[in-house]
């Protein structure tokens, strides 16, 4: 099973790379104007999806779909406990022993606590290829496959496939020469350039490859490599319209801001490798398949400790070597530093506060890019990494994550209220939803966060693609120039409505809802649970609930402004049209998934949100040891086990609050933009300062400009001045003095010794030549005589001279 799964995913992972290479070398020659490039790229990703789906089916067939462990379902619990190792024994003998032992512990542990799954989760890990293998440093192309990996693979390839199809329609302008009306040349004309259709798909393929690389990565070093690859793809794609100043600036901004986060990530990597001596998640195996060095997770949550988080021995040891007074404490700090460092990378990639500024600007890229890169997958990479790295995070770090996520979700949501660019609204919405995910992870809701990651990926890509469809129709991003488009493009309008309903978590409380309903409820329930256990932080739950209201408000503001009411710009309205089928088909597909992806499949437990197959699968992937309560050593915070949030009381309360806030936001939006009971202008003027504050995005750009960019530029200017005035002056004058000195000295040496010697040799040679030219009489016959005489002389010499 391990080899089949790893090979399937390897193939699915490498197909986009192959597509990238093909397009890279043969792009413009593939079909007319590179039209074939789209088919190559789409074929690769669809094949990848098929392979991933196969892998998912295989996974489900092997491990079953059930993964949740409730306190009251001991039978199921026990059955799962036995089922899991058995299947492993049958299929993965190499790991069998470990897992059997783990099962014993699980039983014992389960008897003590009776909550959560405590046995080892099903995961395959290994290496495909070893890049370098020094004594300590081993960098490999490896894999770490668990249910999350398989799910993410399927999700990413599915969405990417939809987006590839969508892009085939959306990017058709690039098939021929393009006149870019947003770029004005110095002579007043618009830029004309050849189409870059194939290049777009080339980048898309590379992006898919990189994203899948992160998902499948078996060690943190590999993750980092593909992390950066994703970053560079993002740079390429944001800057796709490179001639536009705004696009190139946005690309630079995204890249540079990400570097800040990656710097922290490198610190985290160094801390991990320096102390643990390995990058591998699962552990390093030798050729026989035995684990020779435990992975990071195993070191942090040792099996012998029942997977409880404990400062790894290696960290304590390295702290001791550093000469720390309290090695235990220092080791723990080291673990915190490592976790914060990794999270720092995630902050950059997932555009969390305070590194969120790049994401809205990144909307300069083509809309399919926004859908794929900046909503559903790439920014999800940060969340994914937090989820993947979850076992290593101490409660202190998790608290930090929760705070950051909370701030982000609220801030982004407020900014989204005032944005009028349809894509920017969605971008801030993305920020906000990512904040939700981080928040969920931070408050201990691993499954909730991951579930939201997946559901959000579907409905956010749907929303982006719908917005792209609108933009494609009316050729503007400004919602103030739209309106009433529902009549012109019904499919887009109603699929977008589905997306909006999904994102606000619409549903009938306690009964059924769209995908967002389940994930958002789970998040809020866990937040409430957390707030109950940590009273100091229960404000975060209210912030999140308020965020839900704001979410509902701005989403429906967007939908109403776009599709409802009278057209604000008749000319644009007249030209609007429904998108071609290649563009709306993906919308329908995604809408389907946005509705049903988290729906419980079990008819008997239909109203139980945790009965959803998605949740069950994620439960299978839950990191070992995170299913229980645990508390921090330093910050005095307690991470409640997630299953606690499933208590009827908490869950019902959270669900009702969420429903209420969402309905409130929805109603407000209806009042303002549909029914026109309230005039938006009036409201705006009433809250003018707040509006300005929000309109200017909390003045983050200005703030960064003032505290980072301007001082940096000032420093640069000062240093340049210093360089020019002092150092250059000194060096110049030194050089001048040296030159004049060496010139004189050099000339003296040259004249006296070098020239003298050469001239002397030349004169001698000349004299010798003059002397030697005498025998050179130019008379052939004399030469003959010379030759004969010379021969005779040699003969005589040989006869009488040398032999005697």
């Amino acid at each position: 099973m391990e080899s089949i799964l790893s090979n399937l995913l390897l193939l699915a992972w490498l197909l986009p790379l192959a597509s990238f290479c093909v397009i890279l070398f043969f792009g413009p020659r593939l079909g007319t104007a590179g039209r074939g490039a789209a088919f190559v790229a789409t074929g690769a990703i669809v094949s990848g999806f098929a392979l991933s789906l196969t892998a998912l089916i295989l996974w489900v067939g092997t491990h079953g779909i059930s993964g949740a462990h409730h306190a009251d379902s001991a039978d199921t619990h026990a059955a799962d406990q036995t089922l899991s190792p058995d299947s492993q024994v049958a299929i993965d003998p190499s790991a069998a022993a470990v897992h059997l032992v783990a099962a014993d512990h699980g039983d014992a542990h389960g008897g003590d606590h009776g909550h959560g799954r405590v046995g080892p989760k099903a995961a395959y890990f290994g290496d495909w290829y070893t890049l370098v293998d020094f004594d300590r440093l081993k960098i490999t192309i490896g894999y770490y496959i668990d249910a999350l990996t398989v799910l993410m693979f399927t999700m990413v390839t599915l969405i990417a496939s939809c987006i590839h199809f969508y892009a085939m329609g959306y990017m058709h302008d690039e098939l021929h020469d393009v006149t870019d009306h947003e770029v004005t040349l110095s002579n007043g004309e618009h830029l004309k350039r050849p189409g870059r259709y194939h290049r777009f798909f080339q980048y898309l393929s590379l992006f898919c490859f990189s994203m899948l690389g992160i998902v499948v990565a078996g060690n943190i070093a590999m993750t980092f490599v593909f992390w950066e690859l994703v970053g560079i793809c993002s740079y390429f794609l944001i800057g796709f319209y490179i001639e536009r100043k705004s696009a190139s600036t946005a690309a630079n901004k995204a890249f540079i801001v990400n570097r800040v986060g990656d710097f922290g990530m490198i610190i985290g990597l160094m801390a991990l490798w320096g102390s643990l001596g390995t990058f591998s998640f699962g552990g390093e195996k030798n050729d026989a398949g035995d684990i020779v060095k435990p992975g990071m997770f195993a070191q942090a949550r040792a099996e012998t400790d029942h997977y409880a988080l404990k400062t790894p021995e290696a960290m304590v040891e390295s702290a001791r070597q550093m000469g720390a007074e309290d090695p235990e404490h220092t080791g723990h700090v080291l673990l915190i530093v490592a976790g914060l460092g990794i999270f720092c990378g995630c902050v950059g990639k997932s555009a969390q506060f305070p590194l969120h500024v790049w994401l809205p600007d990144a909307m300069e890229g083509p809309t399919p890019v926004s859908a794929l890169v900046h909503s559903a997958t790439m920014v999800a990479a940060g969340v994914f990494l937090v989820g993947r790295f979850y076992p290593m995070f101490t409660p202190e770090v998790l608290l930090t994550i929760a705070i950051i996520g909370c701030i982000t979700l609220f801030m982004a949501a407020t900014i989204a209220i005032t944005a009028t660019d349809i894509k920017r609204v969605l971008a801030y919405s993305t920020l906000s939803q990512l904040g939700y995910m981080m928040f969920a992870l931070g408050v201990g809701g691993w499954v909730a966060g991951m579930l939201h990651l997946i559901t959000h990926a579907f409905f956010k890509s749907l929303l982006f693609m719908c917005s792209g469809s609108v933009i494609h129709a009316v050729h503007t991003n400004e919602m103030t120039q739209m309106g009433g488009l529902r009549r012109k493009m019904p499919i887009t309008a109603y699929t977008m409505l589905v997306g909006c309903l999904a994102i606000i978590g619409a549903g009938v409380p306690t009964l059924v809802g769209l995908s967002g309903y389940y994930s958002k409820d789970a998040i809020l329930a866990q937040a409430l649970h957390f707030g109950k256990n940590n009273a100091a932080w229960d404000v975060m739950f209210y912030v999140a609930a308020a965020g839900a209201a704001i979410t509902a408000f701005y989403m429906f503001r967007l939908w109403f402004m776009t599709f409802i009411g009278q057209p604000r710009d008749p000319s644009r309205y007249d030209h609007a049209h429904e998108s071609p089928r290649v563009m709306w088909m993906p919308l329908v597909v995604l809408a389907f998934f946005a509705i049903f992806v988290a729906t419980p499949a079990d008819i008997e437990n239909f109203t139980d949100p945790t009965a959803s197959p998605m949740v069950q699968l994620l439960e299978q992937a839950r990191p070992d040891g995170t299913g229980i309560d645990f508390s921090g050593q330093l910050a005095g915070v307690m991470m409640p086990a997630e299953h606690g949030s499933h208590d009827e009381e908490i869950h019902l309360a959270a669900g009702m609050i969420a429903f209420g806030t969402a309905m409130f936001g929805l109603l407000l939006a209806c009042c303002l933009y549909w029914w026109r009971i309230l005039d938006p202008e009036e409201v705006r003027s009433m809250f003018a300062p707040i509006y300005r504050f929000l309109r200017n995005k909390w003045w983050f750009d200005e703030l960064y400009d003032a505290i980072f960019i301007r001082p940096t530029l000032f420093c640069g200017r000062c240093i340049a001045q210093c360089d020019r005035g002092a150092i250059d002056w000194l060096i110049d004058h030194l050089a001048i003095w040296m030159r004049s000195f060496t010139a004189g000295f050099d000339r003296w040496i040259d004249r006296l010794f070098v020239d003298g010697l050469i001239n002397w040799v030349a004169q001698r040679t000349y004299a010798l030549g003059i002397w030697l030219r005498k025998p050179q009489t130019g008379r052939l016959r004399q030469y003959v005589v010379f030759i004969v005489v010379g021969t005779m002389a040699m003969y005589l010499l040989a006869t009488f001279g040398l032999t005697n």
């Binding site: 005498k774 130019g778 016959r781």
Partner: protein, 115 residues
Amino acid sequence: MFDLLTQPVGLTHYLIVGAVMFVAGAVCMATKRNALGVLMGIELVLNGANLNFVAFGSNFLERNPAYQLGLDGQIISLFVIVLAAAEAAVALAIVLNFYNNHSTVDVDRADELKG
């Protein structure tokens, strides 16, 4: 020396004929002012040497067995003949060019490169 005439033909006979031709060729080269005369001298010298090679390689002559070249001598003299033909062709071309440019074949007039 004169009993050579009455003795069976040996290596010495050939060597002496070769020596005479060689010396004649050398003297010819040294005395002829006509470039073609010099060429003829060269041919004589080559033939003298050639004769020696053949004689050293011959099985039919009285000789000191230590100086037995075998067929190698004949092959070398073949090479000499062929190379002499090549040499003559080039030399003749040079002479004709010289004649074209200077209207003479006097080698004493060809001293433009003298030191």
